[in-house]
């Protein structure tokens, strides 16, 4: 069976500056992977490359075995973007309107959401603990509730892969706990492959199955207990990265 995500020898730059160099990464079915690294380390860029939102300088990304630029089965992928940059709270839209948008790719133009779609929306809302809130205006909800609306939107198409970019930003510690409990449930009970981006190593590391540490290059990749060693964290956060990774070979 094909891996869910394959990244091969990936390079990316914004203009002159190299943002990602020689990234090799494989995400297998059922993985729960956290992409970690300091701010500006290229995590979000990598996510956007995986989702085909950016084009690599060189190298290849495959989703479910298919090169991402030719991938068409987008209903198999759910995406929760960084909330702050993607959402205007003054936009009048109800929870139901936003969540059902997650099914539009499958539905095709000219067709209105039907009974199946409405049921899927209600189920996704139940799953994230927002059952019965469909009529509420998204802009009037709390930050944690809004985050769950966007997760519901990503889930409503019944994806096999869910990609979340800094999903925990702005959540208090209690909301954070229930949020990670939800992710665990999606991964364990529903078999959804998860990739989540985080810049903090604390909470996330205890919850996920694998971590990939990124700072322009892939610094380490594996189970949290093996990978998050003092030496690796120092390389990830502490010491100027340019010097340390010079000439360093990544072995996935």
């Amino acid at each position: 069976m094909n891996p869910v995500v394959e990244v091969r020898d990936l390079f990316f730059s914004y203009g002159e500056e190299m943002v990602l160099e020689q990234i090799d990464l494989t995400v297998a079915r059922g993985d729960f992977l956290a992409l970690m690294g300091p701010n500006g380390s290229g995590k979000t860029t990598l996510v956007k490359l995986i989702l085909g939102l950016l084009k690599p300088l060189s190298g290849e990304v495959r989703l479910f075995g298919c090169p991402v630029d030719r991938f068409r089965q987008w209903y198999r992928v759910g995406y929760v973007p960084q909330k702050a940059t993607s959402f205007d709270t003054r936009f009048p839209a109800t929870v139901e309107e936003v969540v059902s948008a997650g099914r539009y790719g499958r539905l095709g133009p000219g067709r209105r959401p039907g009974k199946d779609d409405r049921r899927a929306v209600e189920e996704a809302l139940e799953l994230v603990g927002l059952g019965g809130a469909g009529h509420r205006t998204v802009g009037n909800l709390s930050g944690g509730q809004q985050q769950r609306v966007f997760i519901a939107r990503a889930l409503v198409g019944q994806p096999e892969l869910l990609v979340l970019d800094e999903p925990a930003v702005g959540l208090d510690s209690r909301a954070l706990e229930s949020f990670y409990a939800l992710l665990e449930r999606l991964n364990r009970d529903m078999g959804i492959t998860l990739i989540t981006v985080s810049h903090d190593t604390g909470t996330v590391a205890r919850r996920v199955g694998k971590v990939a540490c990124i700072n322009r290059r892939l610094i380490c990749h594996g189970a949290p207990s093996q990978v998050l060693t003092t030496a690796n964290l120092a390389r990830l956060y502490g010491i100027p990265v340019r010097r340390v990774v010079h000439g360093h070979q990544t072995t996935p």
């Binding site: 939102l53 987008w74 839209a93 539905l107």
Partner: protein, 294 residues
């Protein structure tokens, strides 16, 4: 009021006005929600160059206006999609260049007896049967396409990046949408004029936004407001002898002020009611506040 309908030109004006009254806010909803409200104004100003071009070439200005607006719209979308410049900067660039082109062309066309004022402020009362047909056809095409792609356009307006990941053909839909904007601007300019066309695309939507908690409601409310102001604006201008385009836009603005004032008063009252409710529920807090005073 019945006498209005006994004049053919007035019936045509009303039909043209009502079509534009539906069309402008229907397109405007998506423009405003994408924070691209300035786009309507830009295309309207650029289409003045189309008017002058038509005069010089001896072609119907309706045709050249449409052509110039479509070309400008495509240029704007290409610059925007390239992602190297800010959206509003692109609009400023295209608007000022288009206007400059218009001024130069008009000065060249001086010998052609150009009725520039009619285009700047609208000349709905001179809408002929052919013009009306064009407005109705363009209106039907634009509304049909908007209805067909309604939910896709909503998703792109709400979150373009996620719409892409859902597999929607965002780039193609953006081009289509901007062409619909250009079509709408070029026919609506006939009714309210180049300088006021963006008002009819934007202000009804802003008014509806104050009163809407869902996109569906925003959409239908904007359309209802657009039709209402176009009808009553025309009727008022007929009776008061004022300029039709300006009357329509002033009425639109008046409704916005009313909605803004109304919601402000309603909110203040809600806040006061909430405050008294909490005071009644928590008499201890109030008491403490008093005893701890000086």
């Amino acid at each position: 009021m019945g006498e209005i309908f006994s004049y053919d030109f007035m019936v045509r004006a009303l039909l043209a006005g009502l079509t534009v009254g539906v069309l402008c806010p229907a397109v405007g909803v998506f423009l405003v929600m994408r924070r691209y409200a300035f786009m309507a104004d830009t295309l309207a100003h650029v289409s003045l160059a189309g008017v002058a071009l038509g005069m010089i070439l001896g072609i119907s200005p309706s045709v050249t206006t449409l052509g110039v607006a479509l070309a400008a719209a495509l240029g704007i979308e290409r610059l925007r999609a390239a992602g190297r410049l800010h959206g509003e900067a692109i609009l400023a660039l295209v608007m000022s260049s288009g206007l400059a082109l218009a001024v130069v062309l008009i000065s060249l066309a001086r010998g052609f007896n150009v009725d520039v004022m009619g285009y700047l402020f609208g000349s709905i009362l001179t809408v002929g049967p052919g013009d009306l047909l064009l407005i109705l056809v363009v209106g039907a095409v634009v509304l049909g396409l908007l209805a067909f792609f309604y939910k896709e356009l909503f998703f792109i307006a709400f979150d373009e990046e996620c719409a892409r990941v859902t597999g929607l053909p965002v780039d193609r839909l953006n081009v289509l949408f901007i062409l619909l904007v250009a079509l709408t601007v070029s026919v609506a300019a006939r009714v309210v004029g180049i300088l006021l066309v963006s008002a009819l695309m934007v202000i009804p939507v802003l008014t509806a936004q104050l009163l809407s908690g869902s996109f569906r409601r925003l959409f239908w409310f904007s359309l209802a407001l657009g039709v209402t102001v176009c009808f009553w604006g025309l009727v008022l201008s007929y009776h008061l002898g004022t300029a039709p385009g300006g009357s329509i836009v002033l009425l639109t603005a008046a409704l916005f002020v009313l909605a803004q004032g109304g919601t402000a008063v309603w909110r203040a009252r809600q806040r006061r009611r909430l405050a008294t409710a909490t005071e009644e529920k928590l008499p201890l807090v109030k008491l403490e506040g008093r005893t701890s005073g000086p």
